[in-house]
């Protein structure tokens, strides 16, 4: 029997942004959700990865593994994003080494216990939480490269009415025929490449019909930026936190998403 809820908060991509995570946990409680789910990618990008774990536990968050967690937990050596741009690769490598070096072995062991997917009922809807897609942890499902009939196929193949994922860093929602849904819940770790400093998480509600609310979340991003500077993380990463524009790892963006950004 799957657990049943009416209203839940779902987020992904913490990327060591413990300040945004703390803000999210408070915000979600205020919005009286029944449960909170994290779709993975706890580390990367931000400072002091170990600060994330106690927050997740104290917040009663049900978490699953993302590609980054699989990599760090088992030291696979990189983030599995498959960059070919030498600059992207350079930064990806830097943040991987940093995150791996600063994640305690207890936390890495805990990450190995995270499930690869989470299922629950939201009202009458069967929800499947995945990281990239239900079939691959690191598959990018971008709004502009994911046809509706393709999501239909996934939903049928994986017995789901609602598929929730993250991984790309940009939120979106598509309603399929027959009231099925795909939701990319966004990420709380870094802003969305839109020139704003806030990050995003999602509230899924089924009282009685399915709705998704994308929640913009402000947090003390200046403190995070300063902490990243103290940790000597790449200046480009810090800039993204301060400006809301991505300046690295851009090669995986499809044309439409890339055009919306500045770089």
């Amino acid at each position: 029997m799957l657990e049943r809820f009416e209203r839940v908060a779902v987020f992904g991509g913490v990327y060591s942004n413990h300040l945004a995570l703390a803000a999210l946990l408070e915000d979600a409680r205020r919005r009286s959700v029944d449960a909170i789910f994290c779709l993975g990618d706890l580390g990367a990008f931000g400072p002091n990865p170990d600060k994330v774990f106690p927050l997740l536990r104290a917040g009663g968050v049900s978490a699953m593994a993302g590609n980054y967690d699989q990599s760090i937990a088992s030291d696979l050596g990189d983030c599995q994003c498959g960059y070919t741009d030498p600059r992207d690769n350079h930064y990806a490598h830097l943040s991987y080494r940093y995150t791996y070096g600063r994640t305690s072995s207890e936390n890495r062991a805990w990450m190995r216990t995270l499930p690869a997917e989470i299922r629950f009922m939201l009202g009458r809807y069967r929800v499947l939480c995945c990281h990239g897609s239900p079939r691959r942890t690191n598959e990018f499902l971008w709004e502009s490269t994911t046809p509706t009939h393709f999501i239909d196929k996934l939903a049928v193949a994986h017995d789901a009415d609602v598929i929730a994922g993250t991984h790309t860093g940009i939120k979106w929602h598509r309603r399929l025929a027959s009231d099925r849904h795909f939701v990319n819940v966004g990420v709380v770790g870094r802003p969305e490449n839109d020139g704003r400093t806030n990050v995003w998480y999602s509230i899924l509600d089924a009282r009685p019909d399915f709705t998704v609310t994308f929640v913009p979340l402000d947090y003390d991003h200046e403190s995070l930026a300063r902490e990243m500077e103290i940790e000597e993380l790449p200046r480009e990463f810090v800039e993204t936190i301060r400006t809301g524009w991505w300046s690295t790892c851009l090669e995986v963006l499809p044309a439409k998403e890339r055009k919306k950004g500045r770089f």
């Binding site: 498959g82 070919t84 691959r136 690191n138 490269t145 994911t146 046809p147 996934l154 044309a255 055009k259």
Partner: protein, 303 residues
Amino acid sequence: MKAPLVKLEALDHLWFQVTGTLCNLTCHHCFISCGPTNHAFEQMTLESIRDALEASRRHGVKEYFFTGGEPFLHRQMVEILEETLEYGPATVLTNGTLFDEAGLARLARAEGRSLYSLELRISIDGFTPEQNDPIRGKGTFQRAMRGVRQAVEHGFLPLITVMRSWGEDEDHAVFEGFVDTLRSIGYARPRIKLLPPLRIGREEKRSRGYGNDEVVTEEMMVGYDAGALICGHSRVLTDRGVWVCPILIDAPDGKLGDTLEESFDAFALRHRACHTCWLNGSICSNPSSNAAGLDVAGKRASS
């Protein structure tokens, strides 16, 4: 030795050999030896493409790719792309020498209306005429650069694809060279993808063919994520049937059937170009569709 079988895990990528083997150029590295007089494959009709787009829904296709030859030799190419964008994301692999302003304007509007991305992939094989023209033909550098500028002026961010005709240790320098050159002609945020050479067709004569040791064995497929190979997630429609991948168009046994439904059998990696795929994964996909990597259980796939 038995060649390993790769089964079609999902029909994610549907390719169209839209102008057959007809091209306005005759590049020395063309792995299917296209040119103005190569009629091995002819153009596809708009009707046959429409039928395939409709059928593709049933198969849950994720992305559509158009190649040739040179796709923009097809008089209805703009229409074809407009219609495809109603189904899903479209990518067109072009040499960039045949754009016209009206067509680009229509394509920009079509992408604007659509939920989906239109990727223009322009092949250029060096960031100077001295590097590019000996491979692609005299004057092609200037013409392709003009194409890039036209595309950029219409709001596109074309993906420049470059076949690696140098040693891997020079990747970084070539990459930076491209970035600088493209910026200097007004392409402020260039997107670049480096491709390995496929040592078949005319490329076999230009550099070298495959060595006897460049084969894929069953042993090499142990623990390997075959779904990341093009043949593991794609099929190619042509005017004369369905092929296993865009690379083996010249291979008679690359044909798997007359219709899409007949083409879903597994394929044995007995061709030597398969070795390049084995090393490099899904070389013909876009960076945004990273098909390789981890399965949901977190098992490490191809590296």
